[in-house]
C-alpha cells in the first residue's frame, strides 16, 4: 500500500462490521444523555437507534438502548468507553447474550382511497397493526415488533400512500427470570 505523506500511520482496516444492541443503565441527571451521545460522535462510533427513558424513578435510573455497528474491536471499545463514564452503572451487550428480545413501536400514516385503502387495512391486519386514527382518506397504524418487521410493513405501505412514519427506536430486554 502506498502511504501518503503523513505524520500518522494510515492503515485500512478490513474487519467486517457487526450490529450490536447495548443496554446502558445510567444515573438520570442533567447532561447524562449528552455525555453518552457525545462519546459516540466524538470517537466516531455509529448510532443506528437510540431509546432513552427513566425506568426507576425512585433510584433516578434511566435506561438507554443503543443499536450500533462496528468491528468487534470497536464494539468492545464502545462498551468500555461507556462503562468508564462516571454516571454509568452498567453496560450490557444484548446481542452477545443471544437471549434478548428487541422491540420497537412505529406509527405509520397512510393516505389513499378505494383498493389501496382496503389493501392497507388487510396488510395491517396480517401484521397485527392497530388502527389508532382514521379519516375517510387516511389511517394511522400502530405496529410493534422487531426492526425488520417494521421495515417490512413500511415498505409494503409505500405504494399504498405512505405519508409519514414515527418510530421509537429499539428497546431490548433479556429473556428468563434474571434481571440485568
Amino acid at each position: 500500500m502506498n502511504q501518503p505523506a503523513s505524520a500518522y500511520f494510515i492503515e485500512e482496516r478490513h474487519d467486517p462490521n457487526e450490529t450490536h444492541t447495548l443496554a446502558v443503565l445510567v444515573q438520570n441527571e442533567p447532561g447524562v444523555l449528552a455525555r453518552v451521545i457525545g462519546l459516540f460522535s466524538g470517537r466516531g462510533y455509529n448510532i443506528e437507534s437510540l431509546t432513552v427513558s427513566e425506568t426507576e424513578s425512585q433510584k433516578h435510573l434511566s435506561r438507554i438502548t443503543i443499536v450500533t455497528t462496528g468491528t468487534p474491536m470497536v464494539i468492545q471499545q464502545i462498551k468500555h468507553q461507556l462503562d468508564r463514564m462516571i454516571p454509568v452503572y452498567q453496560v450490557v451487550d444484548m446481542t452477545l447474550s443471544k437471549r434478548s428480545i428487541e422491540r420497537e413501536l412505529a406509527m405509520v400514516k397512510v393516505r389513499g382511497q378505494g383498493e389501496h385503502r382496503v389493501e392497507a387495512l388487510r396488510l395491517a391486519d396480517a401484521f397485527r397493526a392497530r388502527v389508532i386514527d382514521a379519516t375517510t382518506e387516511s389511517f394511522v397504524f400502530e405496529i410493534t415488533g422487531n426492526t425488520e418487521k417494521i421495515n417490512q410493513f413500511i415498505d409494503l405501505m409505500r405504494p399504498l400512500g405512505l405519508v409519514e412514519v414515527s418510530r421509537t427506536g429499539v428497546a431490548a430486554i433479556g429473556r428468563g427470570p434474571e434481571g440485568m
Binding site: Q3, G31, R35, R84, M85, I86
Partner: protein
Amino acid sequence: MSDKSHDPNQMTGAAMIVRALIDHGVTDIFGYPGGAVLPIYDEIFQQSEVQHILVRHEQGAGHAAEGYARSTGKPGVALVTSGPGATNMVTPLTDALMDSIPLVCISGQVPTHLIGNDAFQECDTVGITRPCTKHNWLVRDVNDLAKVLHEAFYVATTGRPGPVLVDVPKDVQFATGTYHPPRKSDVHRSYAPRVKGDATQIRKAVSLLAGAKRPVIYSGGGVINSGPEATKLLRELVEVTGFPITSTLMGLGAYPASGKNWLGMLGMHGTYEANMSMHDCDVMLCVGARFDDRITGRVDAFSPNSKKIHIDIDPSSINKNIRVDVPIIGDCANILGDILQVFKAEAKKPDIKAWWQQIAQWRARNSLYYKKSNDVILPQHAIQSLFEATRGKDTYITTEVGQHQMWAAQFFGFEEPHRWMTSGGLGTMGYGLPAAVGVQVAHPDSLVIDIAGDASVQMTMQEMSTAVQYELPIKIFILNNQYMGMVRQWQQLLHGNRLSHSYSEALPDFVKLAEAYGGVGIQVHKPSDLDGAIQEMISVKRPVLFDCRVAALENCFPMIPSGKAHNEMLLPEQANDEATAKAFAGGKALV
C-alpha cells in the same frame, strides 16, 4: 427551630469552595479573577491557608496546576472565571485528560437565572468541557456544592486520574447553605474503579514471564501516576527477573536511566535497542502504558511474535490499538506486587543471556549518535551539558513540544519519577513554562528547568511575569534554532523541503525580553561558552531566559518513518537525503 446562624457548617457557596480546598489538603491554587468568581476571590482574600498564584492567562493556570500535580502526585487546582476564563482552560484540561493528570478546575458561571440567555461572559462551560474532562458538574443549588466538590476531588485522583471541572454560578457562590466534610456517600455509586488484579490473569502472566526467552518490559505514565509503591515494585521486578526495560515518554524516571537494564525510551524517536527489543521479543509486559500510535509504529507489524501482557487501570485501554493476550485490569502497584509474589514463590530467573547479547549488538549501533562541532552548539550537546551540570542536584525538568522535547527525553537521564513534566498525549506547545511555574511553587528550593524551543516558549511567555511576581527562580533553557524544528523536519522529510511557515523571520531578543519582565537573560552562541553559561544560569536565584543558539538545521534521529515498523528505524548515520527519501515510502522526493 434551632438558630442556624451559629452553625459553623452554614456558609456561603464561595466560603464552601475555600473550605473544601482546605479539607482536601490544597495549599496552592492557580487562577485569574473575573466577574463570575469575585465572591470566591473575596473569600481567598480573607484567609491564609490556601495560597493563590495569579497567572497572566488562564491557560497558564491550567498548565501550572498540571506541573504542580505531576511533580507532587497531588491534584492541581485552577480557578477561573466564566466565558473566556473557562474557554482558555480547554487546552490544559484536554492536556490533562490525555496524560491522566489529576486536575480540579473551578469555574465561575453567570447567575442561574441568566444561564442560556447569552449573558455577558456566558458560555456553556460544562458542554464545552464535557469531552475534555473525566467528569464535570454544573452546581445549581448551594446545598449540592459540598458534595460535588468532594466528589470532584475523588474522581480526579482515583482510578485513572484526570481533570474535572465544577462550574459554579455566581448566585450559588453568594447563597448560604450547609457544608459537610468529605464522606463516602458524596460519590456516584456507579463510579468504582477496579484496583485489584484478577488472580488467574496474574498467574498466566507469571507463567509467560517465567518461560520467556526474549522478554521486554514496556512501562508508562501509569506507573508514575500510581505512586511511589509502583515505582519501587517495578524496579524490584526488573531486578528479580533480570529483564530489559524501556519506557514511554510519560514513564521516564520510573526506572532509573543509569540502571543496567535500561534500554532508553521507545517509539518514534526512541532508541534502536528499545524498538528492536519490542519488535523481536517473545513476551512483552506493558505496565501502565496504552500502545499509543507514537509507540507502536505500523500496527500490523508491531511486535509480531510476542505474547503481550497489559496492566492498566482503565479497561478501555485494553485492546484499543493492539490485541493483547493477557490483560490485567487494576492499579499497577497492586498487580506488580502480586506478580512479584507469585514469581518469587514459583518461578526462577529465566536464562536470557543470548537475548542480552543480541541487545548489546543493537546498542552498539549507537543510535543517539550526533556529530559535535566546535563552531556551533548542537542541540543534543546542549542537553547533555545541561544534564551533566545538574547531575546530583535536586532537579525538575519541564518541556515544551517539538524537537527539543525529544532531545530532552533522549539525552537527559531521569533517575526518579515525578521529575519529568512534558505534554505527551496532546503535544501542547506552551506547556513547559507555566508547568515550570507550578513545579517551582510546589518545590520552592529545587532547580526547575523548562527545556524549551524558541517557537513553543512564545505561546505562554507571559507567565515569566508570574515567575517574577512570586520570585520563582525557574530557568527557561531555549534551544533556539529559529525554526519550528519538528514541523520543519517533517516538511523536509515528507513535503519536498518546502518549509511552509516553519521559520520565524522575527524573534524577540530573549535577553532584553527577560530583562523587560524583571528576570535575567543569558545568550550563548559558542560551544566553548556553553558550560560556563549553564553554571551562571543555575547559580542565579531569579527567573532566567537562557537563549541557547543552536545549529539551525539539526534534525531529531533515530526515527521510525511513518507507515514503518519498529525494525525499520532510520538511524542518524543513515539519515542522508537519499536514504531518508527511500525510507519514507510514498513521501515526495527530497530536494
